[in-house]
Structure formats: structure tokens, C-alpha cells
């Protein structure tokens, strides 16, 4: 199974490996979610969704369904 942003632990950092371009909106890329960029899961909302992440210097909240489509690799 691929590791995605959704499967990170709180505080854990990883690098974005691939964004599934058909499912990921352009807006997410424009907000700084790019392949090769470090992403950190900061917090999960109650009920585990949405996810609060830090990526490329930006603090963003994205829904779990979106996070599951972004695969990551550890160092």
C-alpha cells in the first residue's frame, strides 16, 4: 500500500511523491502542494477529517479524501 498524507502521524514529515493529476485540483498545486516538497501533518480535526498540513511554508486544511490521493515517501 502506498503511503499518503492521510496515513501520516501527527507531527510526521514526509516528501510528496506523486499527485494523481486527474483527481487533484490545480488549486492544490497552486497553494504549494508540489512533488518533491516536504509536507508535515500538523493536526487532524475531531472525527479525523479534515487534515491540517504544512507544506511549502503554507498552512492548509484539506479533506481526507483529497489527502488520500497524494502519495508521500519518507526520507
Amino acid at each position: 500500500m502506498f503511503k499518503t498524507i492521510a496515513s501520516l502521524k501527527i507531527g510526521e514529515k514526509a516528501f510528496i511523491e506523486k499527485l494523481c493529476l486527474d483527481n487533484i485540483p490545480l488549486k492544490l498545486l497552486e497553494m504549494g502542494c508540489l512533488p518533491g516538497i516536504e509536507v508535515q501533518l500538523i493536526q487532524k480535526a475531531p472525527m479525523q477529517d479534515p487534515l491540517y498540513i504544512k507544506v511549502n511554508g503554507s498552512h492548509l486544511a484539506i479533506r481526507k479524501e483529497t489527502a488520500e490521493k497524494i502519495t508521500v515517501v519518507n526520507y
Partner: protein, 703 residues
């Protein structure tokens, strides 16, 4: 003073960059809010004197992260920048970026720069630079970005004068794009595109073909070409992604040399606040407390100025009657216009208080945490975390609330929010509730600290929210809309709110309400007064008819006057209207007088109280100016001999007003925002049926 040159300036930036602060600093109170043609997005414009002869007309465009729009207000930025013949097309653009998020902010800058319009970069919040350990090499950055940079702190008034100087010399700005991104993507493709639209900058042509919308300013031939390019959607999508990745690469390269951050200096106050404010228990507790505090403000604090306003207008009316010669004109002023204006002014305290709270929550950055906290819950009802803001705003007025739903990018979530917002208890319902509660619910303490009337009011608020939630669940199940949701929100850093920004925001929102809804209320009050003081032949002969009746022979002069007035009202135009609908409203327990109030409040709910005031004012002999409440309490139902506003009738009215869609302004805004008559008509019918049925059930059950 001769000002003979106006430069058109567009202010653009990501949300939370202090763009509005800068706008307020530049324009001060010389602002105007208009609407863009065809849509209801507010157009904020203001003037700023640059020197003795040059003035800047500044348009504050909605905040956006990219030039590629994902919601209605973002579309506006693109439209403004692409339509060269449009009347807001700028001579020069100011892009505002926040020093802390400069990397992401520069994406928008590089896109705009490629349109070859003179562009100035304002780096805002530079007063934070030292504290955050940031160093910028401005001359180097200016050379790399091919622009003029102004370091500013809009809140501390740093850099404003320098910005004005740069604006004056805008013609000297470099308009070449930052780098040849298109060549790095696919040289052949972009050469083809360039040759197809020789009249446009290449990036503009690229934007034209990547959007789904139609651009009205294009000629027929250009439209055709655009459509032909759009056919290869996969290719466009791929290149858009490439473009974004390349832009970030360029930005990273640039910033590597000219921008240094010493991360050791960053503090983690944000992290601590986040952990508390979005905590699974404390987060909700804090949010509930804030909501309670807001409602306390709307009810409790607002009631003092509201009572003052109410009293002032009542005494103004009676004063006018004593000083002006009796006649139609005096009556028009004292019974039509003054109560009409009073009916608008009385809402100002509540609306101002509510918008003060909302803008504080937005300014501090807390609102994003609420969205984060509530998103999963709201999604069960087919809405988004972002729907929370419209639902709270709805407690002031549904019109700005529906407009606030514009940043919800999923159409289904936005539509459901728009459809259910009118159920929330807006301030127009408050005077109706207040007067009815005062009439039917005893003012008794409950459990020592609470009050029965207050509790009833709270129950009505809960009823509104429950109706909104239940109908959203229903809509979520019924509406078959492909919901390709896109939910990305920025979690901005916490900020101390700027009093100036809040003040402008509140003034603007209140003004919009007064001039929007206010006009309708005032006009209706006057129409109503006219309909109540004129009528067909039977109305004109009222005096003779009553005086000649045998049963009226032996009564006092005062009693006679009262009977004449009452007869007049019954035979006025509005009396006839009320009587016509009486059979329909009888099952709910209403008579023709309440019918008159119902008819008039189909335009706007608050007119109910004004209408009753007019009715009972005309009905009384006009000299005893008591409060409306006293007059309503004294009214007797001739069928039962009991009070007209008894418990069953009161409850039935409360339910009717809680559910019915009685607001022309809201219907108009829903039509404009959904671009179809289908949704406002659906709202009107469904809410009307619900109101009618529940009022009938309640009345018959209770009596």
C-alpha cells in the same frame, strides 16, 4: 483644487495579506461600494490623491490565490484583468504579498506579471521582519522580478507615501514577463497559440483557452479559435500543472538568493493556539461560548439603543402632529414616513454588533479554525465547513449571508447553504418575535436566573437552526448534483484585529443593509399608509354612515370618532385586501387586520410591526400615541370576546414568521446568485407551505 488625471489601479493579493488594510489606508473614507454589472459581487472602489494633479481610482479586487478562478469572486479578478475595454481594466496593478507567505503569494504575482500590465509588488507586514528573522535583498529581488518593490506595513502606515510615488511614475515600470515559462513547457504548442492570437500577450491567450467560462469581450472569430484550442482538454490540464510547477521552481530560485529566513527566531504561539482552538473538546466549547457571547450581544446590548430609537421615533411622530397643521401631508409624515424610517433605523444596532463580531473573528484568523472544526459535521448535511459563516451571518440578515456563501467552491454545498440560510432567525424577525412574545408569554423568571420570555426567544432561534439543518439533510438526499468537491483552506496566522478594518467593514455592511432593504421597507410603509387612509366611496362617506346609524345616537363624541376611524379602516383599500384573504388565513387564527400585516410583510418581515402600527394608529383617534404593544394588547377578537393576540394566535404567528419566506430582497439575491428562478420559487413555495401547515396545526391544537 484641480485634479485632472485619474490613474486606474487594481489591488490584488491572496486572502489574509492585509490587502484590505492597504486599501483603507490609501482611500480612507472616500470609498464606494457598487455592484459589478450582472452579478452581486461587491465592487469596492475608492479614490486616493497622489499629488496636486493626479488621482488614483483604486479597485479592491476579491482575494485570490491564483489567477485561475475556483469560485465566483475569483472569477471577477480574471475578468477584470483580461477585458481591456472593461471600465475597471487597470492602468497599473498593485500585488500585495504577505512577508511570511511570500513564496505562495509570489505565484499570483508571476501570473499577473505575465499579462504585461504595469505591476507593482507591495511586500506587506514588514514590521514583522525582524521578529520573524527575515532578510530581503530588495534591489536584487526587484531585478529578478522585473518590478518596483515597496516594503510596507499597511497597519503601521509604513510605505504608503513611497507607494504613491511609484504609482505616479507607473509608466516607467517594466512590463516584460519574468521568464519564458511557455518555452519550457512546449515551445511548438505555444508558438501555435501565439500565432493564433497575435493581438494578445501570450499568457492572456493561454488563460483564455484554459478557462471553462465564456468571455463576452471576444469577437466571434476569437471565440471560435478559443473553442478549438479547448478541445484538447487533457493537454491543457497537463500544461497547467507543468506551468504551476515551473513557476514555483522559478520562485524558489529567485528567493534562494534574495530572501533569507532565520527559522530559529520563529515562535510557536500559533501551534499552541491551534492545539487549543481546534481541540476535540475545548475547540467546540470555545466556539459555543463565542456564539453565546455574540447572541448575548445581539439581544441584550442591542436592546438599549433599540429602545432609544423606538422611543425617539414615537415622540418624533407625536411632536410632528402637534407642531404641523393637521392634514394629509402631516399624516403622511407622522404616520407613514417617520415610522417607516424608524423601522429601518431600529435594526442598525443589531446588524452593527453582529458584523463587528464576525469581522473580528475573520480578522484574527479564528474563522478558519471554525471552518476546520465544523467541516466534517457540516458535510453530513450536504454543506461545507465554510457554510458556518453564512449560517451565523444569517442571524443578522440573509442577504449578506447568501453572498458570503460565494467562496464555497462546491456547487452542491453552496446551493444547499443558500437554500437553507433563510431559515436562520434574521434580525427582521426579531421585532415580530419580540412584540408577540411580549404579548403572549408572561415575563416570569425561570430557575432564578433565566427568563421565560428570553427562553422563548432562544427556542425560536433553535427552531430556525433546526429547520435549516433538517431541510439541508433533505436537500442533501434529494438533490442529485455531481459533487466534485474541492476543499482547500488556508489556516492563516493569528493576528490582532485592526480596529480600522473592522470599523470600515461594519460601516459598509450596515450601509448596504440600510440602502438595500431599507428602501423597500420605507417605500412599503408609505404605500401602506396610503392604502390605509384612502378607499372607495364607502370609505369617503364613513362619517355620515356612522353618524346616521341609530345605535350611534347616544354615545359620546370620542366613542363616535373611534367608530368612524374603525369603519374607515375596514373600508379602506387595505381593509378590502385584508378581507379578501381572510378565508385563507382564518384556519391559522388570524383576522383581516393581521391579514393586512401579513400581506405587507411578504415584502419584508419587519414590516409586520410597522403595518400593525399603521393599522392601529389609523384605527385609534390618532391622539393617544401609546406604544404598539399597548394597542395590540387592548385589541379584542369580536368572535370570542377575548384578546385578539391570545396564546394560540400568538404561537401560530410565531411559527408562521419562523418558516415563511417573506423577504423580496432574499428572493432577488437567491435568483442572482443561483442564476435561475427555479431555486427562489422553490424556497418561496416550500417555506410557505411549511409555515401555513405548521401554523394551522399549532393554532388548532392549542385552542
Amino acid at each position: 483644487m484641480g485634479v485632472d488625471k485619474v490613474i486606474k489601479v487594481a489591488l490584488i493579493g491572496n486572502p489574509n495579506t492585509g490587502k484590505t488594510s492597504l486599501f483603507n489606508q490609501l482611500t480612507g473614507l472616500k470609498q464606494k461600494v457598487g455592484n459589478y454589472p450582472g452579478i452581486t459581487v461587491e465592487k469596492k472602489q475608492g479614490f486616493c490623491k497622489l499629488n496636486e494633479i493626479i488621482k488614483a481610482e483604486i479597485t479592491d479586487l476579491p482575494g485570490t490565490y491564483s489567477i485561475n478562478p475556483t469560485s465566483m469572486d475569483e472569477t471577477l479578478v480574471l475578468d477584470t484583468l483580461l477585458d481591456e475595454k472593461g471600465n475597471t481594466f487597470p492602468d497599473v496593478i498593485i500585488v500585495v504579498v504577505d512577508i511570511e507567505n511570500i513564496k505562495r503569494n509570489l505565484l499570483l504575482f508571476t501570473q499577473i506579471k505575465d499579462l504585461k500590465i504595469p505591476t507593482i509588488l507591495v511586500i506587506n507586514m514588514v514590521d514583522q521582519m525582524e521578529r520573524k528573522g527575515i532578510k530581503i535583498n530588495v534591489p536584487l529581488l526587484e531585478a529578478q522580478l522585473k518590478t518596483k518593490i515597496v516594503l510596507a506595513s499597511a497597519r503601521k502606515k509604513i510605505g504608503i507615501e513611497q507607494l504613491k510615488d511609484v504609482l505616479i511614475d507607473y509608466k516607467k515600470l517594466d512590463t516584460t514577463p519574468i521568464s519564458n515559462i511557455s518555452e519550457r513547457i512546449d515551445k511548438e504548442y505555444f508558438t501555435k497559440l501565439k500565432n493564433a492570437f497575435k493581438e494578445f500577450p501570450l499568457y492572456k491567450s493561454w488563460l483564455l483557452i484554459t478557462q471553462i467560462q465564456e468571455f463576452e469581450f471576444l469577437s466571434e472569430k476569437q471565440q471560435e479559435l478559443v473553442l478549438k484550442f479547448r478541445e484538447d482538454l487533457d493537454c491543457i490540464k497537463r500544461y497547467q500543472h507543468r506551468e504551476t510547477i515551473l513557476r514555483y521552481q522559478i520562485i524558489n530560485e529567485i528567493l534562494k538568493e534574495s530572501f533569507v529566513v532565520d527559522t530559529a527566531k520563529a515562535t510557536d504561539l500559533r501551534g499552541i493556539l491551534d492545539r487549543i482552538l481546534t481541540h476535540k473538546v475545548f475547540g467546540y466549547v470555545i466556539f459555543s461560548l463565542i456564539l453565546l457571547f455574540i447572541f448575548q450581544g445581539i439581544f441584550d446590548w442591542a436592546s438599549y439603543p433599540m429602545d432609544l430609537i423606538d422611543g425617539a421615533f414615537a415622540s418624533l411622530s407625536s411632536w410632528v402632529k402637534t407642531v404641523m397643521p393637521p392634514g394629509t401631508f402631516t399624516n403622511l409624515i407622522a404616520e407613514g414616513i417617520i415610522p417607516g424610517i424608524g423601522g429601518v433605523v431600529i435594526f442598525i444596532p443589531q446588524i452593527a454588533i453582529l458584523f463587528t463580531f464576525i469581522s473580528i473573528l475573520e480578522e484574527t484568523g479564528y474563522m478558519s479554525r471554525v471552518v476546520f472544526l465544523m467541516d466534517k459535521i457540516m458535510r453530513r448535511f450536504g454543506m461545507s465547513g465554510k457554510s458556518v459563516i453564512p449560517l451565523i451571518s444569517g442571524t443578522a440578515c440573509a442577504i449578506p449571508a447568501i453572498m458570503a456563501s460565494r467562496n464555497i467552491s462546491s456547487w452542491k454545498e453552496r446551493l444547499i447553504t443558500i437554500l437553507v440560510v433563510p431559515f436562520t432567525t434574521c434580525s427582521a424577525r426579531l421585532p415580530v418575535y419580540a412584540i408577540l412574545i411580549a404579548l403572549i408569554i408572561p415575563n416570569k423568571p425561570v430557575l432564578g436566573i433565566l427568563n421565560l420570555q428570553g427562553l422563548t426567544m432562544m427556542a425560536l432561534y433553535l427552531l430556525g437552526f433546526t429547520a435549516a439543518i433538517l431541510s439541508s439533510i433533505l436537500l442533501h438526499k434529494v438533490l442529485k448534483i455531481n459533487n466534485k468537491s474541492l476543499f482547500v483552506i488556508e489556516m492563516p496566522n493569528y493576528k490582532i484585529p485592526s480596529i480600522k478594518n473592522i470599523f470600515y467593514e461594519v460601516v459598509e455592511k450596515t450601509k448596504a443593509f440600510i440602502f438595500g432593504a431599507g428602501k423597500i421597507i420605507l417605500a412599503l410603509s408609505i404605500v401602506l399608509w396610503f392604502l390605509a387612509s384612502n378607499g372607495p366611496a364607502s370609505f369617503k362617506n364613513a362619517e355620515e354612515t356612522i353618524t346616521s346609524q341609530d345605535k350611534n345616537k347616544d354615545i359620546s363624541k370620542e366613542e363616535l370618532q373611534k367608530r368612524i376611524a374603525s369603519y374607515k379602516l375596514e373600508n379602506s383599500y387595505i381593509g378590502y385586501m385584508g378581507k379578501t384573504i381572510e378565508p385563507i388565513i382564518k384556519p391559522m387564527g388570524y383576522d383581516w387586520k393581521i391579514g393586512i400585516a401579513l400581506i405587507s410583510s411578504f415584502a419584508a418581515r419587519e414590516v409586520f410591526v410597522g403595518a400593525l402600527a399603521t393599522i392601529y394608529n389609523v384605527d385609534s383617534d390618532g391622539e393617544d400615541v401609546g406604544t404598539i404593544k399597548q394597542r395590540m394588547a387592548a385589541e379584542i377578537n369580536p368572535d370570542t370576546g377575548k384578546k385578539r393576540f391570545d396564546f394560540p394566535t400568538g404561537i401560530s404567528l410565531l411559527l408562521f414568521y419562523a418558516f415563511a419566506m417573506q423577504c423580496i430582497g432574499t428572493l432577488a439575491i437567491v435568483k442572482r446568485e443561483t442564476n435561475s428562478w427555479k431555486w427562489p420559487i422553490l424556497q418561496l413555495v416550500c417555506m410557505g407551505v411549511l409555515a401555513y401547515v405548521s401554523a394551522i396545526i399549532a393554532f388548532n391544537f392549542l385552542s
